[in-house]
Symmetry: C2
Subunit: 192 residues, 2 copies
DNA sequence: GACAGGCTCCCTACTAGTTGGTAGGTTTGG
DNA sequence: CCAAACCTACCAACTAGTAGGGAGCCTGTC
């Protein structure tokens, strides 16, 4: 296993931070070039086209998300605490200004103008996340820890939507604390 | 009052439908030119710069929204029905494929790369909408028609976030019915 | 040990097309 | 006649992407 940061990794990391600011059409190979210190032609060597770059970027993002969620599931037994940890992760992201937006939430809005391969990855992320949340809610309800207002799936979709909407609101208001202010009451209400 | 569709109106209408697809950076003067049947230079005559165009576009959108909401408030006395009408409006937009996204919700995600003047308009729209929802919830609670889970303001922000998030989910899943599936249970739960 | 071949990575140089925007002249309607 | 509206003809900067070459590095072979 190779943990040293390769050029391709640098490019992906940089592209992610750029895409998180304003989506697919808000950055160019030239922008990456300036930050990473590489010529645009060399970026094409690693990622022949922009859609390749973003497809890989989102796929990698999804893998990290999956890994993070399964690790979180292992470390934290209680379903309510798992939700808390999930939302807490994003709250910390906003506080740090590290990556104050979900890549896929941003790209979802742009789906009509996205290359099909990228759109498919975004779609898959939404399903993945909704599935995970559904599982957590099901277990929480079975254990009597959570009080659902509908089916686990329906509540999961609502939770997902509120989370993404809270990101939009935080951006719109220019207030990082808005995310927590919106999502925290969600948890209090769902706790049995 | 001049109800005939002027050139500037056509440009704005066209730009709106383009911007709704993928945000600020997803369309160009050339795109508008092709649809409206006018040269790009002539668009600059009506809107000197792109940020002017989008600022006016969002301001007009906000006016329409304000007018729509106040009209809705006049026509429908019951607060719960007002919420139903508001969400129903968007549900119909998705069904028609007419304008299946809120201009400001889309632009909110891109705020870091938006011209400041446009960002200010988007911010104002969020506040305007949150204010309206807060008012509806307050009245609904006072009349015993709605059962709030927090303050009216907090519930309004959550409702707003869920609505916007549901738009993202509908796009991500490529399923227009997803919007209603997510938002309808919201109303059932809030109804006293 | 030398050395050729091939591979990865990155470069310079270039392309065609698009971007938002300008200068200045012409048409059109009151 | 005047002004708004629209045009042609530009522009410089930027877009993603290509062609081709050179430096370094491993690997197989004599």
């Amino acid at each position: 296993m190779n943990t040293q940061s390769t050029r391709a990794d640098n490019i992906l990391r940089c592209a992610r931070s750029l895409i998180v600011r304003g989506g697919y059409n808000s950055f160019s190979y030239a922008d990456i070039s300036k930050v990473v210190g590489i010529r645009t032609a060399s970026i094409h060597h690693h990622f022949p086209s922009k859609s390749d770059l973003v497809r890989v970027l989102v796929a990698q993002y999804r893998e990290e998300a999956a890994a993070g969620l399964s690790q979180l599931e292992q470390a934290i037994p209680d379903p309510l605490d798992q939700l808390r940890a999930y939302l807490g992760y994003w709250e910390r992201c906003f506080a740090d200004m590290a990556a104050p937006f979900c890549v896929c939430a941003l790209l979802a809005g742009e789906i009509p103008v996205l290359p099909e391969e990228v759109a498919a990855e975004v779609r898959a992320h939404f399903r993945q996340l909704a599935d995970w949340l559904t599982g957590v809610l099901e277990r929480g309800a079975a254990q009597g820890r959570l009080r659902l207002s509908g089916t686990a799936r329906a509540d999961a979709e609502m939770l997902l939507a509120t989370t993404h909407g809270a990101m939009l609101s935080a951006r719109a208001y220019g207030d990082a604390t808005a995310f927590g202010a919106i999502t925290r009451p969600l948890l209090e209400r769902i706790a049995a």
